[in-house]
């Protein structure tokens, strides 16, 4: 078996691929530690994988780390060394914290599972991303892979050509610090949101902005594509992330745009400063779309490929995915369900399998790879159930029936159903759901339970035929609609424009539900009742990771107005 590890930079994760090339388990450390964005060495995930599959170290052929640790350590340091004395603090900090960097992977593995460290190997970071995407792709030969993130282990963006799974040649890369990801994160920071978490908010906010506004134009100009040298050019004078540990943007950005937004203030459409910040977000989104389209154009020109794999943290930007999918030379655009670094553990584990002796074909992984059953905790929570909850139904058929009735009545329901998604999107097994056409229900889900920013809409889930009815679907990203990695436009004059799940710009991040899933089962029954859209958001309290187990789900019920939890053991109701 093969273990893939991603850690130290973004959410850490562990993936397990068996000797037949199947992804049989996967956990983000944050799911188990309950600390959002947990990037520490994934010791709980590693332990769980060993326990659940009854593994010993002999059963593991290789452990594959998702980047080259020394490169990842040296490149930013080398860049910072150009800016001494300004960057002194950063350099001191980096050197003193090397134990929290990829360099300590070997020691951390040895500490948690002695002996396992001897099987450790390291692969190129962008290769991890490419292999993850390839795992989920229908196209495994003659396809172009584009990876765009903050910073990998030596570049921030790369183009490679996948002749086949053993021949993946890098053709172009952009070096640190010219990074689309870090540009977007710096603007996220300026807008008062947390880096590596608030980027979604910026994307949602940008829909309210005006591309022709002064602010949008100024921000847009800070990142460009140099078509003569084929390079991403970031106007570094406005940023500080490459020389400071505390500031991502520089004083020049403040002089240009005014005071950064107060991170504690509520941002509400219609407020005095709302438009200004929305315009700034618009500028960042425009610039990102623009530079990405130039990169795809360039990739097309050097490979002639019309089929693309797209991954890295920037591929989490579903509006950009939609934008690129509309470029006229794009035939297929494949984005994995977890395009960021945590998903890269999956590609790393696949690498181990591909390098082993008995390689057959590679099977597309399940969208729900994290093993779990509520029955595992049934005993443990019996007193809690007794005291604070009622098990209203105890079999699947009755539970589905009741769930449909409640949704029809406008109730919001949480789900903890068997295996969990890879994240970051909840596809139904760890979701908050309600009638997607009922504004009151969607509002309750958003405001009362999730405490979500009012400028970010909830996503609608539906069957394929419903999606065709309401939305302009792009065949290039059909697979993305299954995993909520792309947005799409409502049809002209369609009633969907007025759905509470539709964004202010007339787009929605739709989910086309797969057969034999919980949402499919519910929709099957709800459609008869005239409900063909379910609003779907991840089950969590604002600022917390998505729930993983039954106890996490009950905690959300206990501290929010959420009343119902649909689980493996039945429908649970709060007393």
């Amino acid at each position: 078996m093969f273990i893939g590890i991603s850690a130290y930079n973004h959410e850490s994760a562990i993936a397990l691929v068996d000797n037949n090339g199947n992804l049989i388990d996967y956990y983000r450390e944050e799911s188990l530690s309950r600390i959002k964005g947990d990037k520490s060495f994934p010791k709980r995930a590693l332990k769980r994988i060993f326990n659940i599959h009854n593994l010993n170290t002999d059963a593991i052929e290789k452990v594959i780390f998702y980047e080259k640790p020394l490169s990842a350590f040296l490149f930013p340091l080398k860049e910072a060394s150009k800016f001494i004395p300004e960057s002194m603090q950063l350099i001191v900090n980096q050197i003193r914290n090397f134990k929290k960097s990829s360099l300590s992977c070997y020691l951390d593995i040895a500490k948690e599972k002695p002996g396992l460290e001897k099987k450790l190997i390291y692969i190129d970071h962008h290769l991890s991303h490419t292999l993850t995407t390839l795992f989920y792709s229908d196209y495994q030969n003659d396809v172009c892979s584009i990876v765009v993130d903050g910073f990998g282990d030596r570049s921030t963006t790369s183009i490679s050509y996948v002749r086949d799974k053993y021949n993946i040649k890098e053709l172009w890369s952009s070096s640190y610090p010219n990074s689309i990801g870090l540009y977007y994160s710096s603007i996220t920071d300026f807008l008062g949101f947390t880096i590596n978490e608030g980027e979604y908010k910026v994307m949602g906010l940008s829909a309210y902005g005006d591309s022709n506004s002064k602010e949008a134009k100024l921000v847009n100009k800070l990142m460009k594509w140099d078509s003569f040298n084929n390079k991403i050019i970031l106007d570094l004078e406005f940023f500080s992330f490459y020389k400071s540990i505390t500031d991502s943007y520089g004083s020049k950005l403040i002089s240009m745009l005014g005071e950064p937004r107060n991170p504690f203030a509520k941002l509400l459409p219609g407020d005095l400063t709302f438009q200004k910040y929305a315009n700034i977000a618009r500028g960042a989104q425009d610039s990102t779309n623009n530079v990405l389209s130039k990169i795809f154009n360039y990739a097309h020109s050097i490979t002639r490929s019309e089929n693309f794999l797209f991954s890295g943290g920037v591929a989490l930007n579903s509006a950009s995915v939609n934008y690129i999918s509309e470029l006229d030379f794009v035939n297929k655009l494949i984005v994995p369900p977890s395009p960021g670094d945590s998903g890269a553990a999956i590609g790393a584990s696949l690498y181990g399998y591909l390098k082993s002796k008995n390689v057959k074909c590679i099977e597309k992984p399940s969208l729900y790879p994290s093993n779990y059953s509520c029955y595992d905790q049934y005993e443990a929570i019996s007193k809690l159930l007794d005291k604070n909850y009622i098990l209203v139904t105890d079999n699947h058929i009755d539970s589905i029936e009741l769930a449909c009735r409640l949704i029809k009545e406008g109730e919001v329901i949480g789900t903890i159903i068997s295996n969990s998604e890879t994240g970051p999107r909840a596809l139904g097994n760890r979701s908050l759901i309600c009638n997607g056409a009922n504004s009151k229900s969607v509002k309750k889900l958003n405001n009362l339970i999730k405490d979500r920013s009012p400028f970010r809409p909830t996503a609608p889930a539906m069957k394929k035929e419903t999606a065709y009815k309401y939305f302009e679907l792009n065949p290039a990203v059909m697979s993305s609609y299954k995993t909520m990695t792309a947005t799409c436009k409502c049809k002209k004059d369609s009633i969907s424009l007025s759905f509470p799940t539709t964004h202010v710009d007339g787009t929605a991040r739709i989910q086309i539900v797969e057969e034999e899933t919980i949402l499919w089962e519910l929709l099957d029954k709800l459609i008869i009742e005239g409900i063909d859209i379910i609003a779907n958001s991840s089950l969590n309290i604002s600022g917390d990771p998505t729930c993983f187990d039954l106890i996490d789900g009950l905690m959300v019920c206990s501290i929010t107005p959420l009343k119902y939890l649909l689980t493996d053991i039945g429908m649970i109701k709060k007393r």
Binding site: S33, R34, I35, K36, G37, D38, S40, K43, R44, K68, S71, L74, K78, S81, K82, I84, M88, I91, V92, I95, R96, L103, Y122, I123, D124, H126, L127, T130, K165, Y166, N167, I168, K169, E170, L171, S173, E197, E259, P260, R261, N262, F264, Y351, L354, K355, E379, A380, I381, K383, L384, K387, I541, G543, D544, I551, D552, L554, M555, S558, I559
Partner: protein, 230 residues
């Protein structure tokens, strides 16, 4: 007292409360009996609610302070580990005996209660915020009582005076932690020039280091030596 000082205290308190919520949740998931699990669940729920209350108070105190100052008080889940509110080695129940864990809860609830009384003084006992913190203090006393009850039930041979001993030990540890941190801060101050010199030498070396050799252009990424860390 100026507002930034109150912000600083609230900022640390939010981390401490969130940290306890997670500690109790972890204890709930590892509990040996369903009644212990229930107890820890309820405790965790309270701590989550306390976190929420303190967050609200912190937000209310930010008006009129400039944004660059406020950035220091942004709460991120990562801070829990970085600031040591959750140990890098894992949650207490993952590393402690049940006995020590309960004793820890017993003392820490008392210590929390006493530090909150200082916050009430700062906020004003007659303000709405002061009253909500006083409610939290009641919770902490209840947690303290519950832990004591458990302790005496599961370890009946221990006498109350032994609990006081535990309390003394924890308070000393807490004080020690503060002393250690202030000492570390001082040492940092003294050694910073040394670190800087070291960083300067390293940066000189780095400048002359040519990383271009590690460019992967036109290389088959699948064939790169997987033993190499560069």
């Amino acid at each position: 007292m100026d507002n930034t000082k109150i912000l600083g205290i609230l900022y640390e308190t939010i981390y401490a409360e969130h940290g306890s919520a997670l500690e109790m949740l972890a204890a709930c998931k590892q509990a040996k009996s369903s009644s212990l699990a229930f107890g820890y669940f309820e405790h965790s729920k309270d701590e989550y609610n306390h976190t929420k209350t303190f967050r609200k108070i912190l937000s209310n105190k930010t008006s009129g302070i400039n944004t660059s100052e406020l950035r220091r008080f942004r709460i991120t889940p990562q801070g829990l580990i970085r600031k040591g509110y959750v140990s890098q080695n894992g949650y207490l129940v993952e590393n402690m005996s049940l006995k020590n864990f309960i004793a820890y809860v017993y003392t820490n609830e008392l210590l929390a209660e006493s530090s909150f009384s200082k916050i009430v003084k700062l906020l004003g006992a007659n303000t709405e915020e002061g009253r909500s913190v006083m409610k939290i203090m009641e919770d902490e006393l209840r947690h303290h009582g519950k832990a004591k009850e458990y302790f005496l039930r599961y370890f009946p041979f221990l006498q109350p005076w032994q609990l006081s001993l535990y309390k003394l030990r924890e308070s000393i540890k807490n004080k020690g932690r503060k002393f250690y941190h202030s000492n570390i801060a001082l040492l940092e101050h003294i050694f910073y020039p040394l670190y800087s010199l070291f960083a300067l030498i390293i940066s000189r070396l780095l400048k002359s280091l040519n990383l271009k050799e590690f460019k992967r252009s036109n290389k088959n990424l699948m064939d790169i030596n997987y033993k190499s860390i560069l």
